[in-house]
Amino acid sequence: MESSASVLCKSSVSVQCIRKANMKKSLLFPDFTVTRDPDKCIQCEVCVRQCAFDAHSFDKEANKIETDNSKCVSCLRCATMCPTGAITVSEHQQNIKKNKNWTEKQLKELYKQSETGGILLTGMGTDKDYKIIWDHILLDAAQVTNPSIDPLREPMELRTYLGAKPDRIEFRVQSSEFRGQNKKLRTTNYELQTKLPPQLKLETPILFSAMSYGAISLNTMRALARAADECGIFYNTGEGGLPKELYKYGKNTIVQVASGRFGVDSDYLDVAAAVEIKVGQGAKPGIGGHLPGEKVTEEISQTRMIPTGTDALSPAPHHDIYSIEDLSQLIYSIKEATGYKKPLSVKVAAVHNIAAIASGIVRAGADIVAIDGLRGGTGAAPTRIRDNVGIPIELAISAVDSRLREEGIRNRASIIAAGGFRNSADVVKAIALGADAVYIGTAALVAMGCHLCQKCYTGKCNWGIATQDPYLVKRLNPEIAARRLVNLIKAWSHEIKEIMGGMGINAVESLRGNRLRLRGFDLHENELKILDIKPAGESM
């Protein structure tokens, strides 16, 4: 999840916009109800200070705290911080007539748009009730004929290398004989001829997904960088450039080159471990980004290399990539600029023709293809795009891995899957379907405190994550956030080892693409066919 915070206020909808729109009376009613237990509330005003949306206020005349339900986004910051646990946030109960077609959500969106004339905006990945294929895939375990392995007793290897691999190893053999004490000894010398293309070495097959400075705060970025360094993995700058103070984490950094080219210069490319060309993201395939000028502070202006206060526009396409051969030129321009010393990744959204697109990207020279699925997150996206464009990552991984193998080019690039990975089982399933590693964005943000209120685009993140407001930014302690991220990666790695051990597998390369250890449950025949897995109950 990444990129620019919000689309222009003029063309978008927010509560603020509605208020500005000079309508007599809004037809909207609140999403949430905030209840305050008067017996517990000590009038300390923590909630007032914590809410950047101004849902709570202190009424001096009445000498009590008031709450405006219509402003509540259910980020639960006040409920969490309240020292006496006096606050509860619940869904607003309004007796709108039940209708499966015209739901409350649909009605509210219509009210909003009719009051403002704007595009609906949102943040994070889609919350729509699509079938989650991960939950219909079951994992295998060893029984009797094949002993399961206890990861606490036996080695269990998760190390993963991302980058292009040659078809085969090349070496020269030289044999020499020499006389030992009383017999001839023969020594064979293998001289390695293969020069391995540049690789990213991961201690566990998980990376932090692209989230840009601008969309997220500097403290959030600091936490991601520190955690990546400690875990032996990578974080991704997104398209907002790289603050100078984070250059020291360069060996754990993937820098992005996106359509806006923000913050791209030779230092930026040089300091990184890998470069990623961002073509698209799962939350908004085919859509550009827009960071409003008011968010372009002095620091962001420095990092993005644009004047303070100007809008940061990411065009929908790269205007130097109108075709696959253009992509190839950009790939090789960057490779030339970085001396062929870093893997080059291309990130695309999982769209209908993803297998052919991925094949083209590999043939164009990418070392890594990052694919972001339907559920990919974002700092800001038009709701209609987020909720309706793209395909689920499960199907995309399978289609791409199968296609690259059919063409005999699977070894020429690694696959990173992204888009809504919730837990270690999702990761294991993705790898078994054919991914080399996964990007996690939302899960990492939740680990740091995000409560998925989906208001990232407002810049008012009460958790100090998706905001540039200095008052809010300092709420996120990068030390603590980094510790929480490290714990998350450790916990997932332990779980992956446990699952692999159960399968009788002790190296992640034996899990990768091993679809025979997956079974589909309650999946349509066509889904099974595309996933290339057998239905549950069918044996080898």
């Binding site: 009788g504 091993n514 080898m540």
Partner: protein, 373 residues
Amino acid sequence: MGCSIAGIIDEKGNRFSGEKIICAIKKMYLRANGLGGGFAGYGIYPENSDDFCFHIIYNDEKSRENTESYLKHDFEIVKEEPIPTRTVKAIVNRPLLFRYFLRVKDEIKKQFYEMTEEDIVMRSVMKINGAQAGAFVISSGKNMGIFKGVGYAADIGKFYKLEEYSGYCWIAHDRFPTNTPGWWGGAHPFGLLNFSIVHNGEISSYGINKRYLEEFGYRLTLHTDSEAILYLFDLLLRKHKLPMSLAHKVLCPPLWSEIEKMPEDERKFYETLRIIYGSALINGPSAIIVSDGKMMFGFTDRLKLRPLVAARNGSKFYLASEECAIQEICPLKKGDVFFPKVGEPAIGKLRNTEQTRNKGTRNGHGKFRFSSV
């Protein structure tokens, strides 16, 4: 699966009757359940040692006719005959069993000028076995043959009259199938060209091994995971020109933590090897004997979850799941028997060929050094 495996090679190339290997495998009958047994013998067809010998099992006459007309298209058939068998009460439902001594036709070599003779043979084997036409080529090497079927190995050996053959290397397998059905084509050994393997174990990485091999044109049609190991050896040894010792390091690579402790050049070599061939790693419990006619190579998985013992006595080198099998056919002295360590293969080699003169340490390891450019 369960299973027992055994192998004997005479390093001087002296040939001996198949009776010995039958005795050895018979001793371990408790490890099998009668759903598959088989043997591979090397040096058994000296009169036709330059021709590819196909052993084929047919479901019926029709499949034989179809397959033979296909063979005639690509090969000159030097000799064809039923594989001699005798009546053994325990062996029932036998398929048709034929062998053919073949030479690749010149015009076919011209047509597929980018392929070696071996590639052409492999293509034919894959085509026949993948056609689902009731015909399976169970061996396709030179001066070697595979004899297998459903039954205890000892009965299968008797059925094929193996005591009448003599060879310098024999490997055998007695099966206790669990994952896959007991059928004639699914018994071990599995063979392609001169390679044959027997395997006691289950491959938990089979799904990816199979998909990796398919990228190189192999078709895995025998409903058993063990087949994958055979093709991996063919790929690594014949196509990628790795020596056996390095192919072994592909299938059972050292741990990353071990690789990190190696001297610079060696570390780089093993790192590169493992990064390139990750999909060829054989995971899961395994004891494997593989032969290419020049050597007999035994190894276990990275955790040694299946047994393997080795012994050297005179010019003979033995491998078996259990020591009793070797004791049965060879009076062993103390010190003859040894147990290959995790990650260390046990190797017996023909001494008269150029590449295999290297004897090295007791278990056949030569000394390696690594360098890089």
